[in-house]
């Protein structure tokens, strides 16, 4: 029978050639199950361009990994419980004091567990660096226009990571249940209570009753270690997949076009550099944790709602929210038996809005330019003056509010009146960003003008020459083709124009508000005086052909 005869045959051999060694055999094994060869085919020698600012994103990734590693360690020792205990441990000043198990176990991690303090410090330092790196990374992407198509969605992922990072940082800060963190939670409760209509309900459901209750720490713990990191991990993977898929952006330069990416291959150079960089970051954070102590909870004591430490300060990334709440006037509206606490509610709403402003920017800009093409070459910040100025204005607002958040520290360190600082921040939140906007824009335009000058008249050599008739001139050297190309290849948009008010048949055509706004904005971005027309080939030839002068 044919079936039995075929069963007796040896299993059909793979058509593949025999592997040359053990490693190849192992790879073949995996390929047969996971298809690794096809996966690696275009990725093993994938090209990554090189620029120091591209490592900012790497720092974010690595600190995130460090946070997860150390976080897992900490969960092995931390007891997220508000059950009351009397402390009896090696930190003598707190012996015999009533405190929550959460606080007591934090003390234990710091004093009883060998290396526990170090891991706690690494966890906290890494979190601080993580948020800072996300911030700076996002600024890099913003100021270079790297968020433009096709990367707008990845910008949103990045924004969400920043937002969740802020939030998870706050939750983590709250877990030890020391005097400082308890004060932070109290602040949060007060803010929630200010929400009209549902504030008290949200507060009671969150705290399991009245503040502080005994549920908040275990609840925050679950959200801090499970819910938010889970979401962040998903977003991070999506973020990285998109980075891989889009390929990296690159700076303009010889041989670099919108259609290619120039750099070093993943294997081996990038692997070694990026892999090595992980260890550099981890090493530096470990050393920092050995040297500089952050959040010494034992110095604050356990939380009690009727006590406070005077230098209550949140982590820096919450500082601007703190600033908002500090400088807001205490507006409270009472009517029909209800209270609307605007003094707290407005800052509570502004906090996400200040952040969302950056989230939506890519969509606003692409609407204004009407540009539907892909962009892979980065903009020099000076070549997008309005964008750069907006970014700078935003940062200045952030810093003004941050100084509002630290008004007490500024007051004591610089011997200033606290009230004056608050008044300054109130006015400054409106004035400073506007000033910064205009200064930055002018600065960018000045740099553009200088670039044009350089292209047309060459670069100053520092060599002074005396002409036959006695005049002294500085010799300018013509730029090489690489520099010429770099300084002239950027794109300059034309402002969009409103359609003629009367169409070709003489019928009046009305431009809608939207179209008008867009034309206005576009004029503001790319109109006269908002960008310097770059040097043209004709101008260049005119000057270099000998008819020019200098």
């Amino acid at each position: 029978m044919s079936s039995s005869s075929s069963a007796k045959q040896a299993a059909p051999a793979s058509t593949r050639a025999k592997p040359a060694n053990k490693a190849e055999a192992a790879a073949d094994y995996l390929d047969g199950r996971l298809g690794i060869y096809s996966l690696a085919k275009s990725n093993l020698r994938k090209i990554f361009p090189d620029h120091w600012s591209f490592m900012l994103g790497e720092i974010c990734l690595y600190t995130f990994i460090i946070i997860i590693l150390t976080g897992v360690y900490l969960t092995l020792f931390f007891k997220p419980s508000m059950g009351e205990v009397v402390y009896n441990g090696s930190y003598a000043p707190l012996n015999g004091i009533h405190m929550s198990e959460a606080y007591a176990s934090t003390l234990n991690i710091s004093f009883e567990v060998r290396g526990g303090l170090l891991i706690r410090q690494i966890h906290h330092w890494a979190a601080i660096v993580f948020v800072a790196a996300m911030f700076v990374h996002m600024m890099r992407v913003f100021f270079t226009g790297a968020f433009r198509k096709p990367r707008e969605i990845n910008w949103i992922f990045g924004f969400l990571l920043l937002f969740l990072g802020f939030f998870d940082g706050f939750l983590g800060y709250s877990l030890p249940d020391d005097l400082l963190s308890g004060t932070g939670i109290r602040f949060m409760e007060g803010a929630i209570l200010a929400v009209p209509l549902v504030g008290t309900y949200i507060s009671f459901f969150l705290f399991g009753g009245e503040f502080p209750g005994t549920d908040i720490v275990p609840r925050f713990f679950t959200i801090h270690v499970l819910l938010i990191p889970g979401i962040m991990l998903g977003l991070l993977v999506a973020h990285l997949i998109l980075v891989f898929y889009h390929k990296h952006t690159q700076w303009a330069g010889p041989g670099r076009t919108e259609k290619n990416v120039v750099g070093m291959p993943l294997m081996p150079v990038y692997m070694a550099k990026a892999g090595g960089f992980f260890f550099l970051v981890f090493g530096i954070i470990a050393a920092m944790s050995a040297i500089a102590s952050v959040n010494p909870v034992w110095a604050y004591g356990p939380y009690r709602p009727d006590q406070v430490s005077t230098d209550a300060q949140p982590d820096w990334y919450m500082g601007f929210a703190e600033g908002l709440i500090r400088v807001m006037p205490g507006w409270e509206v009472r009517a029909w038996g209800h209270t609307l606490n605007l003094g707290v509610f407005i800052p509570l709403m502004l906090f996400p809005l200040v952040l969302v402003a950056i989230a939506v920017y890519p969509f606003i800009e692409s609407w204004i330019t009407g540009d539907k093409r892909e962009h892979h070459i980065l903009d020099r910040p000076r070549n997008a003056p309005v964008r750069t100025a907006l970014g700078a204005a935003w940062i200045s607002l952030y810093l003004v509010l941050l100084s509002g958040g630290g008004n007490d520290l500024i007051a004591t360190h610089f011997h200033l009146s606290l009230n004056d600082i608050t008044y300054f921040v109130r006015a400054g939140s409106f004035i400073v960003p506007v000033i910064v906007f205009f200064v930055t824009k002018r600065w960018c335009l000045g740099l553009q003008r200088r670039d044009k000058e350089k292209v047309l008249h060459g670069r100053e050599t520092g060599v002074i020459k005396r002409l036959p008739h006695g005049e002294f001139v500085e010799v300018h050297a013509q730029l090489d083709p690489t520099a010429l190309h770099k300084l002239t290849n950027h794109e300059q948009y034309e402002p969009v124009e409103l359609p003629a008010e009367v169409d070709e048949n003489g019928v009046a055509r009305k431009a809608g508000v939207v179209a008008k706004t867009r034309a206005k904005l576009s004029e503001g971005y790319f109109g006269e005086g908002n960008q310097i027309p770059k040097a043209t080939a004709e101008e260049f030839k005119e000057i270099t052909s000998g008819h020019g002068h200098h």
Partner: protein, 360 residues
């Protein structure tokens, strides 16, 4: 340096960008030629780099050994003085530094290796448009239309609409399930632990520090004293730190007592609530609820350290600066026959931060 290591010809991929054409002086000159590094052409330099990389890896190994040794050998309670850090935990310092060096050296070695010995020839790779070509697009849309048509989703409106309805409603169950996270607020924010005080059953003010009831003369002019409720019907021992709900109770009951010359009290109503110039205010800031702790006796101003709301205690705790929206509630106090300060009623207004349902 031997000549045969020098590159003879440029790599094929280099120098072939868009050639600079005479018409366009700004044209892309193309990828520049590769410049060899010292380690590319000098075998001795390469060997030196190799040794440097290995040295860093060796240092890392030693540091890890040091980490283990520190973990075992250094006592966790040992404090050392290290300039300029001050007195710090020896174990934390040793573990952190050794771990830091162990990790850093791996990184530094790898990066040095990549920079000096791995190829630094830049290579171009093509990008491909993210958008699919028109054919693919049309094909997928067609497939989708076929699938959608077979499902009848567009045709059978009733199924479609009821499906959308059910999908919209089903998450409500999840929201509902959150209800038992906590009790309803009801009126609990309106009252404090002083609510049981009546003229017949007053509650004594207990000094927070001494745990003793106090008399008016115990409070010096210009001093700030903190108090909590004494024994009441439901709490016969008074509020104690060991009480299960101590945190919750103290978050609302905490009092701040000051004594002002009766003539200096600007607000008559406030004066009436006090006893011989002793005024009892809620210690909980009306902004977002920090305890107030700073008092300036000259001006009678109390300052909240959290966001610096400032209250004039001689004027009914009116807000004179900062983000708080209303005065601190005041507790009416008097004395019992033996001269101890007592409360005979709750605060007239809710203490702590504002909330929607707060009417006063």
């Amino acid at each position: 340096m031997s000549d045969d290591n020098l590159p003879t010809a440029h790599d094929a991929v280099h120098g072939h960008g868009e050639a600079a054409v005479a018409e366009n002086p700004f044209a892309d000159p193309g990828l520049p030629a590769h410049e060899p590094r010292r380690t590319d052409i000098d075998e001795r330099a390469a060997k030196r780099a190799e040794r440097q990389v290995s040295l860093m890896f060796v240092v890392s190994m030693l540091a890890t050994v040091g980490f283990i040794a520190s973990y075992v050998a250094i006592d966790k309670s040992k404090i050392v003085y290290i300039f300029p850090l001050g007195h710090i935990s020896a174990l934390n310092f040793a573990l952190g530094m050794t771990l830091g060096v162990a990790l850093f050296c791996i990184g530094a070695g790898a990066v040095h290796w990549a920079r000096t010995l791995m190829s630094d020839v830049e290579l171009p790779a093509e990008r491909h448009a993210i958008e699919a070509d028109d054919e693919t697009r049309a094909d997928v849309i067609q497939q989708f239309k076929t699938g959608a048509g077979e499902s009848g989703f567009g045709r059978r409106k009733m199924i479609r609409n009821t499906l959308i309805g059910s999908m919209a409603l089903v998450p409500l169950s999840g929201v509902m399930l959150l209800r038992d996270l906590g009790p309803l607020p009801e009126k609990s924010l309106d009252s404090t632990g002083w609510k049981e005080a009546t003229p017949d059953a007053p509650i004594r003010l207990i000094n927070m520090n001494t745990n003793e009831p106090m008399k008016a003369e115990d409070i010096g002019i210009g001093s700030l004293t903190f108090a909590k409720p004494g024994p009441s019907a439901s709490r016969p021992g008074g509020l104690q730190e060991t009480d299960e709900d101590f945190q919750q109770a103290i978050a609302k009951d905490a009092l701040m007592l000051i004594r002002i010359q009766p003539d200096d009290i600007k607000d008559d109503k406030s004066k009436g609530l006090g006893f011989e110039g002793v005024l009892a205010y809620s210690k909980i800031c009306t902004h977002v609820g920090c305890p107030i702790s700073l008092y300036e006796q000259q001006t009678h101003h109390a300052l909240c350290p959290c966001h610096q709301s400032t209250f004039d205690l001689s004027d009914g705790a009116r807000v004179i600066f900062g983000p708080a929206g209303h005065p601190l509630p005041q507790l009416k106090i008097t004395t019992d026959p033996s001269g101890y300060l007592i409360a005979t009623q709750d605060f007239a207004k809710p203490v702590g931060p504002s909330f929607w349902e707060r009417s006063a």
